[in-house]
Amino acid sequence: MPLLDAEKIVGDYLKDQPAVEALKARVVSKTPSTLDLPWVRITLLTPTNVTGTTRVEWLMAYYLQFDCYAGRDGGRPEAFALAAAVRSALVEMPTVELPDAVATDAAFPSMPKEPDPDIERERYVIDGELWMHPKP
């Protein structure tokens, strides 16, 4: 099964990162029920085959959005610290052994500050591209 569950793989990886844990941030795939502590919401926008025609759907570019929200009182500095922790962790991802996948590269097309329009809450939106393939 070449297509990986990128949200789960990246989510599990981020949950174990000390910098993310230090901020008491939750790693979720949808908005948590309580908003007091910071959180990262991971959404897969689209996976794209980058292997070519020799081994289609092997190496994929997973285009993910990481919404890094501050907690109730953290404000912009907390949202930024969380975004920085997430980016640092993702950059290291190709160097660590993952349970089900091999990450080969990570890139970040952008990271705008997009405060949430529904409630007054600071947020950085990381556009992240992760290249991953299943473990051979």
């Binding site: 908003l35 959404t43 689209t46 794209t48 959005q65 919404d67 097309p109 952008s110 949430d116 939106v125």
Partner: protein, 98 residues
């Protein structure tokens, strides 16, 4: 026979100035707009109807386009503009406004 190649530093600029280039880009832009509409969420259809090709730009004229694109606490990020560009076979490169 020897052939000497001299690169034209203004090559890209000259190509871009050609009317054929503009025509080609407009066709591509229409394809991107169609791809954006295809991947956009459909509740009322308002957002989809507001996505249009405008020359060589794709515009989403829904005032709440950012909610659809980036999501919020109450909305998931659908990213139709970013996904539409990729779905049209192009590479998405985000650049700030000049």
């Amino acid at each position: 026979m020897n052939v000497r190649y001299r690169p034209n530093p203004a090559f890209e600029e000259e190509i871009r100035a050609q009317p054929q280039h503009e025509k080609g880009m407009r066709t591509i832009t229409k394809g991107v707009a169609k791809a954006v509409r295809n991947v956009a969420p459909e509740r009322t259809g308002y957002y989809k109807r507001r996505v249009k090709a405008d020359g060589t730009k794709v515009r989403a004229r829904d005032v709440f386009w950012h909610l659809v694109e980036f999501g919020s606490i109450r909305n998931p990020p659908y990213g139709p503009l970013r996904r539409g560009v990729i779905a049209a076979g192009l590479r998405f490169v985000r650049r700030p406004k000049p």
